[in-house]
Amino acid sequence: MALALELDQVSRSYGAVVAVDSVSLDVEGGEFVTLLGPSGSGKTTTLRLIGGFERPNGGAISIAGRRVDHLPPYKRNTATIFQSGALFPHKTVAENIAYGLRMHAMNPSLIRERVGEALGIVQMGGFEERYPSQLSGGQKQRVALARSLALRPSLLLFDEPLSALDLSLRLQLRADIKRLHDELQFTAIYVTHDQSEAMAMSSRVAIMNCGRIEQVAPPQQIYNEPANEFVYSFIGESCCLPVRIDDGAARDQQGRPVDIRLAEPPSSGAWRLYLRPSRIRIGNEAHGCANTARGRVRFTEFLGDFNRYHLVAGGLEFFCDRAGERQYQIGEEVEAGWDTGDMKVFAA
């Protein structure tokens, strides 16, 4: 079977800015692929190229095996859910959902049926006659979703659909979208800059940076086997220790020795050590770790489920999280430790 979506060396630039730089991506039917990356990395542009709102400068885009990059949006079998929802303010919920169906010249009774069905799917039955201005932010996005789903497109495109919403609403809608994807098995390209969203929803995540895709892989693999430093530092929380190694001994950037002992120190030179704060153990728990560092507690933060201890060791700062009551006071000296596998080392 043909791929649901195929991007082949697609580029798009605006004047001197290369927004999308030879991006290639293959998506199978039923996949949920997320484009994740910092602001300005070209996620939205990529999505707009797929939707037909922008024209590539080069490369080919195929949907379900058919070249589409010369087609206008209304001739592509895709449906986009915009960040703002982009509901038509002068049409009721039902009219909004019916719009796309009418454009495809579907007969009225069938339209009615599909509208009802789509509203049912997003659990918005009974809101048919409301205007968008009478809906909450979350409800609006649900309607936008229904409007797109009603068309049964071969490809659903999401452009940060949840970023304008409250946290709790975001979590709820995230679960909804995931449930719908499980049920309906549509193919989706989802743009976000929220990692947890990407991690939680996707079958594969494409990490974008400066218009390029740095890595495409399932979430676990992205987290555990980042392809490069950028992916590592971008995904998950991490502390970065810029150190200089002299004959196996660690120093901070100013060259002062720091109390860090590494089981397998890299060769002499400047390095950046990355650690996941959740994998750092401190105090007694640190005993027996292959790598240790002694630091002083600069300040602590209570974050509900855990306390976060900010430590300084010489010119290096890092922090680690620990559940339970606060155990170390500001100014106290503590030992932190971690397993070699939990540390990534990149040349500075």
Binding site: G52, F53, E54, R55, D69, H70, L71, P72, P73, Y74
Partner: protein
């Protein structure tokens, strides 16, 4: 944003076939049509002002500056131009100050009879100039203060022109004030800025674009008005458009084209000066 969104909603793509091209072309044709429409009378007038002949007709067979020389040699025209500028400045000051204050009030405060006051302020703008001009001459012509008589003074024309300029300023500024971020005003109060200082230090600078454009409008309206001025000027106070109007009613020579060009040049020169200054200011703000 992106490129032409219509073309975009049509779908972009070099290959996107005829429809994109057709729509683009239609857009360009329409844009040229409007451009032509707007520029025709201006262009024709400019061309005619260099006509050597005494009659306004095409084709123009020979060109010269003789009508310009005539214009600038005649103290009558230049004096009228000076009058026009002075009156326009006066109008700008009066109408901008009163219009801005009123618009600010409309934005910030609740007044009883707001709609009535609105119509009252706006109505003069839509009243024929003859009615206003004659009305003011009759109602206030008799006023004399210490030998200075209202009638025939530039002041009377300033007042009359303000009847058109002030509502215009009011209208523009009412819309402008609506765009002001309320929090910034609150921030000023919060930092101890009393309302008056806040208005001058914070609000006015923030709406400077609106202030400048409405002041320009006031200026232009006054500079171009002739019917009211006809009834309120005398002796040394006649304005350029009044002279133009009188000469338009007797015989059209290229001299009229010259005055039109001079008047328009005065307007555009003032605008450009203000704009250049303003853009400098904006650049300073790094916007």
């Amino acid at each position: 944003m992106t490129e032409a969104a219509l073309a975009q909603s049509v779908g972009s793509g070099r290959l996107a076939g005829i429809s994109v091209t057709v729509w683009r072309a239609a857009g360009i044709v329409f844009a040229s049509f409007v451009t032509l429409y707007v520029l025709i009378p201006i262009g024709v007038t400019i061309a005619m002002s260099f006509n050597d002949g005494s009659f306004i007709r095409f084709p123009i067979t020979s060109w010269s500056l003789r009508w310009y020389e005539g214009f600038f040699a005649s103290t009558r025209w230049t004096q009228a131009l000076a009058n026009s500028l002075v009156i326009a400045l006066g109008t700008t000051v009066i109408s901008t100050v009163s219009g801005i204050l009123a618009a600010w009030t409309f934005d910030r405060y609740n007044l009883p009879l707001k709609n009535v006051i609105y119509v009252l302020i706006m109505l003069p703008l839509f009243t024929p100039g003859v009615v206003l001009g004659l009305g003011i001459a009759i109602a206030f012509g008799g006023i004399e203060i210490g030998g200075w008589s209202f009638f025939g003074s530039r002041g009377s024309v300033v007042i009359a022109h303000s009847l058109w300029a002030m509502p215009l300023v009011f209208m523009l500024m009412e819309a402008t004030f609506r765009t002001v971020d309320r929090r910034i005003i609150e921030a000023s109060y919060d930092l101890g800025g009393r309302p008056v200082r806040t208005f001058f230090e914070i609000v006015l600078p923030m709406v400077s674009t609106g202030v400048i454009s409405s002041a320009l409008f006031a200026f232009v309206i006054s500079l171009n008005e002739f019917v009211m001025a006809l009834f309120l000027t005398s002796r040394g106070t006649q304005t350029l458009p009044v002279l133009m109007w009188l000469s338009l009613r007797s015989a059209g020579t290229p001299e009229l084209a010259v005055t039109a060009v001079v008047l328009a040049t005065a307007v555009f020169a003032c605008m450009s000066l203000v704009m250049v200054w303003y853009v400098r200011q904006l650049r300073k703000l790094g916007r």
